[in-house]
């Protein structure tokens, strides 16, 4: 991994990759969302309301995967002192928080017509809200220590990212461990209880959103590196 530690080499690779991830992601997302809205049949119980699934589920996945990425980056930063890991952690936080918010908002909109409530404090909803607050805390900590970390995040922020990862399995298991209003998992190791007729656009939006997420992270990493470079140059000029 230290082959990519050199920012110049990383930028050479990241520049074309941003486009390769962004455009296929956008196309898959548009196809999935379009098919989810107009092609698939309505659900036997929920009717048309079920279509919000195609946004809600990828948003939940990326909110949780984003924190997984922050935890991996934190581990690489703390153990191997990888210079880009700190930048990656900072880059992931904003899209991760955004997708967590999308998950909470779409879930709330979905809950009103199906369950009969905008919000309830059950295990799944509460733990997902905690994840959103963890993102806010991580971003605040990262910004407060940005100057000393040269565009990345401070070791304290990385430790916070690692500790926060404890919440991810709790979110995942919350509907199994505790009685909850949210239903149990539909897609497990044993298969899917979403019928194929409704399932396939979810695959498209899942992959599409994930590629978009990766493209956004690369864009943000490039921005952070450019900012750090500009900052360093300004300091040199001020001194010289």
């Amino acid at each position: 991994m230290h082959r990519f530690a050199n920012p110049a080499r990383f930028l050479n690779i990241a520049r074309p990759f941003t486009g390769w991830l962004f455009w296929p992601g956008l196309i898959l997302l548009a196809a999935g969302a379009g098919c989810g809205l107009f092609v698939t049949p309505p659900d036997y119980l929920q009717g048309e309301t079920v279509r919000i699934l195609y946004i809600h589920v990828p948003a939940a996945w990326l909110g949780m995967a984003g924190w997984g990425g922050i935890a991996v980056a934190a581990l690489m930063q703390l153990v191997w002192r990888h210079p880009l890991a700190a930048v990656a952690g900072r880059a992931i936080a904003v899209p991760g928080a955004l997708f967590t918010a999308i998950c909470l908002i779409t879930g709330s909109i979905w809950g009103r017509p199906t369950w009969g409530t905008w919000w309830e404090w059950d295990g799944r909803m509460t733990s997902m809200l905690v994840l959103f607050f963890l993102y806010l805390g991580y971003m605040a900590l990262a910004n407060a220590s940005a100057r000393q970390a040269q565009g990345g995040v401070s070791p304290t922020t990385a430790i916070f990212g690692l500790v926060g990862a404890v919440n991810i399995p709790i979110i995942n298991r919350s509907v199994v461990w505790w009685n909850s209003l949210h239903q149990g998992p539909s897609i497990t190791m044993r298969g899917s209880s979403i019928d194929m007729a409704l399932l396939w656009p979810l695959g498209l939006t899942l992959v599409g959103f994930t590629l978009l997420f990766a493209a956004i992270v690369l864009m943000r990493m490039r921005t952070i590196l450019a900012e750090a470079k500009a900052e360093a140059r300004m300091q040199r000029m001020a001194r010289g």
Binding site: Y44, V79, T114, W115, L162, I170, L181, S186, A197, L198
Partner: protein, 148 residues
């Protein structure tokens, strides 16, 4: 031992301790963090009349009755182990129906009937087109089979 390995071991040990602590906390919260009481919980733990709780389970098929006043409904809630009678006055959510899940907020009266002040519909994890309605989902094979 290199400093890198020392940091790796330290980080992993801290992570293991942390996950262990979280698991312990989660298992201790098992009952307290439950969003509702199932009918079997009500029977084993005993819930005194008048105490505000949530009761969750399935609406027993054929138990739903509309009272003559037009706004009150009576139904039974079951979790497969125990069944309790419940009543509700007001507008139930669209997805509230027999054989489907319900979470009712309210309290037991002295006769042991759960008087709900609010009803929430709880649906399960299955999604399918209308043509497949009435078919049974096999948990182990993930196949749909016509209802016998």
């Amino acid at each position: 031992m290199k400093a890198k390995h020392q940091r790796l071991i330290l980080a992993l040990a801290a992570l293991v301790a942390l996950v262990g602590a979280a698991l312990l906390a989660a298992s201790a919260l098992r009952d307290e963090a439950a969003y509702f009481y199932a009918p079997a919980d009500v029977r084993t733990k005993g819930v005194e009349a008048g105490k505000a709780i949530r009761l969750g389970g399935m609406v027993v098929k054929g138990s739903l009755k509309h009272a003559p006043d037009g706004v009150t409904i009576h139904f039974d809630v079951t979790d497969g182990k125990a069944t309790v009678p419940a009543s509700f006055k007001g507008i139930a959510p669209d997805l509230f129906r027999e054989g489907s899940g319900v979470v009712a907020e309210g309290a037991f009266d002295r006769s042991g009937t759960f008087v709900a002040t609010n009803l929430l519909a709880k649906h399960d994890e299955r999604y399918m087109p209308r043509e497949l309605e009435g078919m049974n989902y096999n948990e182990t094979t993930h196949q749909m089979k016509a209802e016998q």
